[in-house]
Symmetry: C2
Subunit: 453 residues, 2 copies
């Protein structure tokens, strides 16, 4: 029987958990068991259908495993005997482990809509061959309906239009696309940017049924409207892959995720850890369970899990939730809570905004107007949320905000932030919008009248 | 006699100090007194000669003053009677103030090299007409020698070459260009990038004298070499503009800067503050005087000074020093200390590096290889320095590092950093290089053997 010190089940966060455990426990053997032949960059999947050109260009190289001294076993784990510490694979192979990490990820949610099983209806599975097949099917289609206006839906819409003569409609049940992540005004900006490309975005519209004989021919909306469609892509969320964990007797928690503590250790078994989409998460802000699934959270959890295997020391502070996306060349980033969320939670807050070009002077080439919104608690002045739209630097600007949130910086702290600035790379130091938005918060936080902007 | 509550003397950081004081004390009248007709974006000055196309495209609009209810008085302050609280201008006008802020900036250093006063030798003054004149003079020159390979010298070299048929040589006295700011390997990268454009960079070479009858014809180096030159640009540093402060009896400190405490209040007079290049600075790290002059530090100090005028509350934590630049389309950023500095200071430290493309997969368009170096104290694992080279996102990545330094984050903290990632905007979450460099530091910091990279 094959033996290992650390067995990791899964893909993306499995790689990171493996690297982390090798780094912290270089004497331990680490074996990664996964069913996928190749692991895809999950956030890169929409880009396969446009910018990147195919799934073969969106693969995480296994060299990362070799370079870090991690063994790879391709195969599907079908049973875990926690008593004997033995994993059984589909082909009958058995692996004895000392510590086990579940990093089994998530699968696309398939809603119980009548007709959902028709041909050319595609949930976005993270499987190489499946995504290649989807790419082939996309040749020659005329009308694509994307159900769900979240990040995956919006990014698929923006990418599928590239180089294709095709009508694309995004159908979103809520009043705004991207509503789970962003405040209304950013959602509206993103919608407008996508619509500029010719993509239609319908909000407040629910798909009632999928039409067609065998292959899909259209969708029927709850409003009575019908849309033509010869392909449907589902982007309505994901469910954790926790059947095996459940079978192994691990306690599940919020929305069927594996229940873990701050050390990513399962409640049930001190030798079993979990991380990524399959692991239960709590919010950084209120400690309540959070349904967020992000590659950045998954890898952060994986680093923590790998480090804790033989000595639970490193604590997970909870999900801050940092999103970024690009819609028709405009970048959007969000970190922490939205204004909608704090309003609903009843928190007293201050919200401020600042705008500036992302170069200085604004006349530098490729200058993009950039808008920042920050949310602070009223009592303590602590930064709890931020949103940005602008050009490519938004991807790292939102990380500046994430660092500020993680370390509970206040508006007063951020006013004094020493940001580097350069004409070609950033806004001017006078109007640097993260700092300027903090400046505007300082006075209202003290309960004084604001007279300047 | 004209009266104001707050008088601010100076340009860039004067604007920010004025805005800050208006924001904190909306009932107070603020008057900005400056001799310049227009204020230029200081970091934009090299770009006037290439990318931006002229000084008229590099102006800070006075609308910023009006929008914030700040009065502007153009004129040169020549005397300050602190007893009577009266400023006298060159034209005889007098202004009575209650609180006074010196934001008088700096002027280019002109070294006592024989021949320095010849025609076509240009220190880089921050004056509109002067810089226009320099631009005219640049038409038709064949050989430009830039004395000083710091940021100004390197950026001038990179910009002056654009659209001009001209030979450019940078002469640097130290072993590396940019040596005051960056570690050797980054200096060498920057040098190589600049040399790719055809610019020559001579290091370890000192200019002994400037040759020519009336107008400059060349320079003679200490090594005996001679270089042809019909224009010389000086980029060797700056000296604070503190003659007026000295005349007003304010105590000067390190390198003739105005001595201020953590509140930016002058030692000498509780009603007089100073900020920016004219104000004394201490290092964030060791509290020793620091000669760094940066627009980002100046504006941070200005925000603090403006907020403290009627109630010294906000403390300056000292200069972190965050630089960024672009040389031949490669961006470089540095925050905090360099390895050279900590080695000389005798600090026990850990240095780690990580590299990754700034998109994921790497095959996304405009993907740029990005290199990160982090420096941690060995005892506490605290991040004290970072350097990055890469593409446009470097400008904000270095600000992520600055935020981490400012809040004394440790390698363990940064390992858990929840960065947002997106295929078009950032590195992959698996290899995000700021986090990965921190991961590599964790083990050596615990005194264990590193076996993986």
């Amino acid at each position: 029987m094959r033996e290992t010190d650390v067995a990791v089940l899964g893909g993306l966060s499995g790689i990171t958990a493996g690297i982390s455990s090798r780094r912290h426990y270089p004497d331990k053997k680490v074996l990664l068991i996964r069913k996928e032949g190749t692991v895809l960059v999950p956030c890169g999947i929409p880009y396969i259908y446009g910018t990147v050109g195919g799934p073969e260009n969106n693969v995480i190289p296994d060299g990362l495993l070799e370079n870090n001294g991690i063994e790879l076993l391709k195969g599907e784990a079908v049973d875990v005997d926690r008593e004997k510490k033995i994993i059984t694979l589909k082909d009958g192979e058995k692996v004895k482990y000392d510590k086990l990490v579940f990093a089994t990820g998530s699968s696309p949610m398939v809603p119980p809509i009548p007709g959902i099983d028709k041909e050319n209806v595609f949930p976005v599975k993270k499987e190489f061959d499946y995504l290649s097949y989807l790419m082939n099917c996309m040749n020659g289609v005329k009308d694509i309906v994307i159900i769900g206006g979240g990040f995956i839906g919006m990014e698929f819409a923006d990418e599928c239009r590239k180089g294709r003569d095709v009508n694309i409609t995004v159908v979103e049940a809520m009043p705004h696309c991207l509503q789970m992540a962003m405040d209304d005004e950013f959602c509206e900006d993103a919608k407008a940017k996508l619509e500029e490309t010719g993509v239609k975005v319908l909000v407040n519209e629910k798909v009632e049924s999928i039409l067609g004989d065998g292959a899909v021919s259209g969708v029927k909306l709850a409003s009575g409207k019908e849309l033509k469609a010869d392909m449907i892509i589902l982007g309505i969320g994901a469910v954790p892959n926790t059947e095996l964990a459940e079978k192994a007797g691990l306690e599940l928690g919020f929305r069927n995720t594996i229940r873990v503590d701050r050390y990513m250790q399962t409640y049930t078994d001190p030798d079993v850890y979990a991380c990524g989409d399959c692991a239960e998460k709590v919010s950084f802000f209120d400690g309540r369970p959070s349904g967020v699934m992000l590659a950045s959270i998954a890898t952060s959890e994986a680093r923590i899990a790998g480090a804790n295997l033989y000595s639970p020391t490193h604590q997970n502070c909870g999900a801050i939730s940092v999103f970024s996306t690009v819609i028709n060349d405009r970048a959007f980033g969000v970190a922490g809570v939205t204004e909608r969320f704090v309003r609903q939670a009843g928190t007293s807050y201050i919200v401020t905004e600042a705008a500036a070009p992302d170069t200085h002077p604004g006349g530098m080439p490729n200058s993009t107007p950039t808008k920042v919104k920050l949310i602070f608690t009223k009592d303590t002045g602590t930064l709890i949320g931020g949103a940005i739209s602008g050009g490519k630097p938004v991807g790292e600007m939102i990380n500046v905000i994430s660092a500020c949130i993680m370390h509970k910086m206040t508006a007063d702290d951020i006013v004094k932030f020493q940001m580097g600035t350069h004409p070609a790379l950033t806004s001017s130091p006078i109007v640097y919008p993260i700092v300027n938005a903090a400046c505007k918060a300082v006075i209202p936080l003290r309960g004084k009248q604001v007279s300047v902007h």
